[in-house]
Symmetry: C2
Subunit: 415 residues, 2 copies
Amino acid sequence: MRTGLLIIGSEILSGRTQDKNLETLATVLREKGMVIDKVVIIKDEIATIVENMRHLMQEFEWTFCSGGLGPTRDDMTKEALCQLTGVSLQENQQAEDLARRHYQRYGRTWSKETNSYHLIPKGIIPLENPAGLAPGLFLTKNNRQLYCLPGVPREFNQMLIQTVLPLVERHPSFQRTAIEYLTLRTYGVPEEKIFFQLCPTLWDDLEKYGEVSSLPHTVGVDIIIKLKQGLRPNEIEQTVKQLPSLAPLLSHIWQWGALSFHHYLVELCRQKNIKLAVAESCTGGLVAHKITMVPGASQIFLGAVVSYSNEIKKDILEVNPKTLQTHGAVSVEVASEMANNIRQHFKSDFALATTGIAGPEGGTTQKPVGLICIAIAGPDSSVITSTYNMKGDREQLKERFSDRALLDLILRINK
Amino acid sequence: MRTGLLIIGSEILSGRTQDKNLETLATVLREKGMVIDKVVIIKDEIATIVENMRHLMQEFEWTFCSGGLGPTRDDMTKEALCQLTGVSLQENQQAEDLARRHYQRYGRTWSKETNSYHLIPKGIIPLENPAGLAPGLFLTKNNRQLYCLPGVPREFNQMLIQTVLPLVERHPSFQRTAIEYLTLRTYGVPEEKIFFQLCPTLWDDLEKYGEVSSLPHTVGVDIIIKLKQGLRPNEIEQTVKQLPSLAPLLSHIWQWGALSFHHYLVELCRQKNIKLAVAESCTGGLVAHKITMVPGASQIFLGAVVSYSNEIKKDILEVNPKTLQTHGAVSVEVASEMANNIRQHFKSDFALATTGIAGPEGGTTQKPVGLICIAIAGPDSSVITSTYNMKGDREQLKERFSDRALLDLILRINK
């Protein structure tokens, strides 16, 4: 079953809004053994919508569509469906019932004067929206399916899971054949060095198990094998670990799996009953934000101090003013004191500290933009520090700094 | 000049990696008066790449392509260009020089044994990569342009700005006609209420000035007018402000402009010489992260305490244990003390505090998931608090909580 996704939204094409529905759809479908084969993003323009709907429905058995269902004039999906199928809008009792129900949920009353949610192209089936007001729309024609969902990510997500997925699973051509991946997350070796110097025959060896891809990340390279049908990740992992061609890379693999640094770290701390605290300067709260993205993070995370001024470093984190004066705020010495003091202050097992220069201003020849000092204080009161020079703009550097800090903490805990 | 973007990357279709190059390209092109008309995302599969390159080059004068230029076997853009143009790879002196130069920049030596960066499809022009190793590729044919850039966001960005844009601007059909927008950012009124109750004739009135769109956001609705050629945002803003049909919405507009909450806040504080501190519970560092995303944030932001446990609230933020016991951690009383204490402790002008329930666990009937209490302490030592009930999963709630807190602070400072 080949699948396409049509994203309608001038605001996404203009770069002002980032699409989130592709990720949602891909993640949900993967668990059902489906992949998205193609995504097309177009503007809110009736002729363009009709044309692209038509093409996608020709090319794919399943087409999902996001956006253009709201009540305002820039919402054109209904009109596009009319033109696509050559019908006009008509009153639909089911849609009327849905609209009434959706409004009741928010304590409001819908009537035909509120908007035209009760008007639906002839032959289209309205779909319940568990998280918003506008009904979804479903067209099935010549054994092709078109599901139109709202563009608002929360509504897309809920309608997909609660309303659309059960319909997909009930379809006769739906076959559940879960797609399995084996992911090796590495660090410290560039992509080219891995495949052309360290492990020149690795790619060939891995291809026996499925489709291989290599993905440079913030602070490392992920090697991903989309496994051939019937192969199990756990079993293949054991086999792959024994490959002579992988041996030189083994010490650079920090995870056999696809978890993010923060998800992996929270899970690791939970297993080992470790409590964490963080002192952030250049990462400005991003390390804490990442950790607290993980459900249940409160079991292992005590908190953080974001010290964006030297005063806070001195007053709250009690960094010795002399250390600041002698070595500067961006130094392993200051990072060390930050980690040590917050660990004692917050009574955590481990503490992580970052100080660096995220730019665009503030760099010098000795301490350029992209420099970061990381310190980790552990239960034995020892502190290990490291320094990295990274590249990127402010946003990218904050990402890399945070991921590298999380990775260093993972490596330290796993040591 | 119509423009398409082809994104090659199975990892993006699989939802494991979020594309960033669309936003980069759209932002850079907008300043040159160009918009992206269509984006197509496809997997690393040679036939699919060739087919979609061909279609996009038929449909659009300018096609940009991201991904597939690296040295590993899943990088197929070069091979696709061979098939598209019916030629084979051949040694290219310019590409060889570029490869040598790119490697030198990183203190490494390139040779023909390193990889095949010196092999280029006949008729294709290699492009300098200012931030990586792989050269870009440029095809011009029948007055159609195809620019192939690396998928890694930092490399895409740098090559676009430094190498590709000068080529685009030099092209005879390039005309600089900047695209101007007028954006009204509102809060507190749902989209439907704006256009069907409060301001029923507003859309018609705004359409006189350009293409109107309405965009529900984390905590409000943005109304965006893509202005007709020659109209200036400043002048239209003055005219639109006088529209009788807009009058009922005026008090709900917090910004005439398109800045994010955090960019707006940092700019506001800079202008008014205000220093900020933040105490975060449920937002877990996201408020601090957002503020420190803004270049120059250190001028106005002193720092934050992320208190993810009651102990930190008591020990570091000195919240009265009785307040915690009587009202619970998620209460305006606790938020109040958090804001007050961090303001005094950090010696800031304003302080913002958040405490709430981001879920998925931890909700009760009285205090459900989605509840947030926000407190703002100001220079006159007064504290204002507010409580909201929001919807979404953990990630969405953290976003909404943070944006609402930033908005409340903006409104308080602007009062």
